[in-house]
């Protein structure tokens, strides 16, 4: 888990660079997982308004959808709670191939 912390520092460093460049940034955190999921609770991802991303919240299965939601978060300034997995209809579009479920909190840095 210490590796996880080191990983978070790298993600936040990239977020700070984007902010310094004047690019709005949202942060996505894995807050809960069920079944098998590739990234543990506490994993962080930073998303710039233009869609650039750093870090990950899955094995690449749902990052695209999270970027899309993050852009909505940056547009209206409201945090969102997202849930991906087999019980979610959207799983067929952007779900986790491993069959796990994951809950993600997306918030703007402002």
């Amino acid at each position: 888990m210490s590796l996880l912390s080191a990983d978070s520092a790298t993600v936040l460093e990239q977020a700070a660079i984007w902010l310094a460049e004047g690019r709005p940034v949202a942060l996505a955190s894995v807050i809960a997982t069920w079944g098998s999921s590739p990234r543990p609770v506490g994993s962080l991802m930073a998303i710039a308004a233009d869609g650039a991303m750093a870090g990950s919240v899955s094995g690449g299965c749902i990052e695209g959808a999270v970027v899309y939601e993050a852009q909505a978060v940056l547009a209206d300034g409201e945090p969102r709670l997202l849930r991906f997995g087999i019980s979610n209809d959207r799983a067929w579009e952007v779900g986790l191939a491993c069959g796990g479920q994951v809950e993600i909190y997306v918030e703007p840095v402002r």
């Binding site: 210490s2 912390s5 700070a16 909190y105």
Partner: protein, 235 residues
């Protein structure tokens, strides 16, 4: 996250200080918890703080319920560190094992024939005397310090320096007899019994280890046990 809290997290990471970000998932209000303080949108109740500190200690982010609220605790700990004093044979096994376990490892030994890149590929080396090296490395609560030289000239100053700080683990190689002699020497250096009791010696879990690699494994296992609060901590 408010920009001000974001910057506070970044400062904590730069200073290698542990913090936890607590988010009220209902309201979005956030509080940053430091070792001995908190700041942010709302002050957390005293009753809630022990849960946050436990999450920090266990290095475990997660959702907790408090009364009718649902909170997410993001633990943002600096990487664990291991300072090995003595670039000896056991250190050659322990350094790469600890790297695999997620530690930033520094090997301290003024004897350049021991502390060489050839013997310790990809490991940070420090050739200062141990007391100077530790003063510069500033071991914190997520740092383990292990003295392996067998030489009181090197081990003792390292141990005295380590005991002055909050390292979660301090260990010293040597038999029970060696350790008893060490107690006398360190007492003369002003280390009282309660401070001395923090030293794990003979170092490592009693696995019956024989080879340098097995001894290294026993030391790393004991570090994990102490860090994660396993049974028989402080033996």
């Amino acid at each position: 996250m408010k920009r001000r809290l974001f910057e506070a997290v970044r400062r904590a990471q730069a200073d290698k200080r542990p913090v936890a970000l607590v988010t009220d998932l209902g309201t979005g209000l956030q509080t940053l918890v430091h070792a001995d303080a908190q700041e942010g949108d709302v002050a957390l109740e005293e009753e809630f703080l022990p849960q946050v500190r436990e999450a920090m200690r266990l290095d475990r982010s997660g959702i907790v319920e408090f009364y009718d609220g649902r909170f997410f605790i993001t633990v943002l700990n600096p990487p664990l560190r291991l300072i090995l004093v003595g670039a000896v044979h056991i250190a050659q096994s322990l350094a790469p094992m600890a790297v695999l376990a997620g530690y930033d490892v520094t090997v301290v030994d003024p004897r350049r024939a021991f502390a060489s890149d050839a013997r310790f590929p990809d490991i940070a080396l420090n050739h200062d005397w141990p007391d100077e090296a530790l003063a510069a490395l500033k071991p914190d609560a997520r740092t383990a310090v292990v003295a392996l030289t067998h030489d009181p000239k090197l081990d003792d100053p390292a141990l005295v320096a380590a005991l002055a700080g909050p390292s979660f683990y301090v260990g010293a190689l040597g038999s029970r007899r060696t350790h008893a002699q060490r107690r006398e020497r360190l007492a003369a250096a002003g280390i009282d019994d309660s401070a001395f009791a923090r030293i794990h010696g003979p170092v490592g879990l009693d696995l019956g280890a024989v080879t340098p690699a097995e001894i290294a494994l026993s030391i790393l296992a004991q570090m994990v046990q102490v860090l994660r609060g396993g049974p028989k901590v402080g033996t």
